[in-house]
Symmetry: C2
Subunit: 387 residues, 2 copies
Amino acid sequence: MNKIYSASTTAPVNIATLKYWGKRDTTLNLPTNSSISVTLSQDDLRTLTTASCSKSFTEDTLWLNGSKEDITGSKRLLACFRELRELRRGVEAADSAALPMSEFKLHLVSENNFPTAAGLASSAAGLAALVRAIADLYELPQDATELSKIARQGSGSACRSLFGGYVAWEMGSSPDGSDSKAVQIAPVEHWPEMRACILVVSADKKDTSSTAGMQVTVNTSPLFAHRINNVVPQRFELMKKSILDRDFAQFAQLTMQDSNSFHAVCLDSTPPIFYMNDISRAAIRAVDEINRLAGQTVAAYTFDAGPNAVIYYLKENAQVVLGPLKAALKSQDGWASASAIKPEVPTSFESRWLDVLGAGIVRVILTKVGGDPVSTSESLINDAGLP
Amino acid sequence: MNKIYSASTTAPVNIATLKYWGKRDTTLNLPTNSSISVTLSQDDLRTLTTASCSKSFTEDTLWLNGSKEDITGSKRLLACFRELRELRRGVEAADSAALPMSEFKLHLVSENNFPTAAGLASSAAGLAALVRAIADLYELPQDATELSKIARQGSGSACRSLFGGYVAWEMGSSPDGSDSKAVQIAPVEHWPEMRACILVVSADKKDTSSTAGMQVTVNTSPLFAHRINNVVPQRFELMKKSILDRDFAQFAQLTMQDSNSFHAVCLDSTPPIFYMNDISRAAIRAVDEINRLAGQTVAAYTFDAGPNAVIYYLKENAQVVLGPLKAALKSQDGWASASAIKPEVPTSFESRWLDVLGAGIVRVILTKVGGDPVSTSESLINDAGLP
């Protein structure tokens, strides 16, 4: 049997604070607006992917969370393979000693350390890990921003998971997508105090997939064009500045406004798209109450294409933010890392929202801003090139 | 004791199909956009008001649904009294035989034939009945459009309840409000087949009053300006035309889009405003299913500042629209007038939405487009000038 070459990496989940919603090119995954996200810690949420290749392998194969996937129809994945092999051919052309890996088939094994059922955007971490692992296997010289253009084609928001810290996806203007890429606004060390509390909602079946939903919005919402042309561009600059200035109140206000703006254009679509439900609404009101009683903006909610709330806050405000939530949700899993937080609800807190959360939240995930994808010696492939 | 003069009228509820949301002048109730409504039948929903005056009365007094109201601080009501007395003074100046009713105190008694708890916009019918009854008492020569400018100051949408059928509130442009008035697009006879099914939702406490909510939107929603300047004006013309053409599909599409647009700018406000809940969302999906299975747009949902769904449809489509709703809600009150409707759900109907409605709707009201306010001999005032 021929030698099996492999590389493994972990990649993080990112949660947008300025939302990606709408493609101007559905093949290349070119967005209608720039977006911003916070990368979450891989200690809590990550995808581990091993990429391997060998002259012996007979077809490109992907095992995802223990199941072999049928990737023959996955244009997005095949585009990533094609582009990465093209870059590998550049390496081979420049160095006659380089193995012809671009001609070998790939075996890829990918596993999340969190349940898919949690409804977290696993495709971003998954595609970022896949691209990063193959790039490492191929010893590509391209930097993360260059690779982000490839990951973007696999899953739009995956481009942002190639960086830790605070990340912008610049929409670009070129029709070929060559300037639609992720860049780091600031590394995790710039503002390491950022925390995230994810409230996982017991959801009914998802109403509309995000891929389908965003194009319904692009095509039918009269408010959408105003959002992307007149609202997001200023917000993008202000949010970048709030991160560079470590201005949490400003960052939080913009984050909440943009989450609401995104869900507003979903609602303005025909047929309307709903991702938030009554539990999500209670999470919004609970955050409003936390901020009201703190006398300042210490917490920011944001919702992706699903009902789960992600609440950003700073480490120094952990008690005031988490206290009421822990009081409402102390019987749910997820508080192990917050044993110092007292489950306390301030006297004048409007507690009916906490009652709704108590009945509707099934799991809490406490995490924080985290770093770049990480190469690891942990391999998901055995000596036979199989999981 | 001096003679008591009185006049009684009933006035209808109206449900906007192009929404009023936002004031450009909060004192005069001048709106940021024109709106359109359908007036509902007074057989099912109406306010009955008796206006009386007498030299003997010592203060302006209002009894509302059996309770004496404190109106001393009600600037809106007092503005209506002031304007109506001003017009009465015109009558008295022109006719020396006219009694000096403008100097008499008013006793007003008002009753709805539907429970306030139903969450229907009773203020529109209430203020319209009040203005119409006093105008009749005063024998004012002004037409309903002129009176609508007074009713508007009492409650914005009340101006539309001075007409039956299909009604526009033209926003006007004058700072003094002299051109912000209701006009009839078409009388009930033009399109008498319009039906309305109101699904009354078991609501938790209302989140935000409409009066407060609309100014939050005006002041904080970045999408709002686009709605009023670029979305509503075209929709207003198209909706008027759809009514004049009796084009239900077009009317329905515009109605649903505008309801969603209104709730979208509510959501885009800071803090976000929610009126629809998970039950409302299920009503939307049920209507989507009804239309999908009909192969055409036979039903239109619309939601005001609350969770109740109002579903418009034409008489000829009663079975296809009401059949699935009756199947889901047959144990709720309100089906007496629909005994011919078979409670039937088409085979491929996505029935989970009906399950949600079955659990969350507390009452059904079946009604239809209706006529103008009506003078009545039924009086709510006794010989002593009291209820």
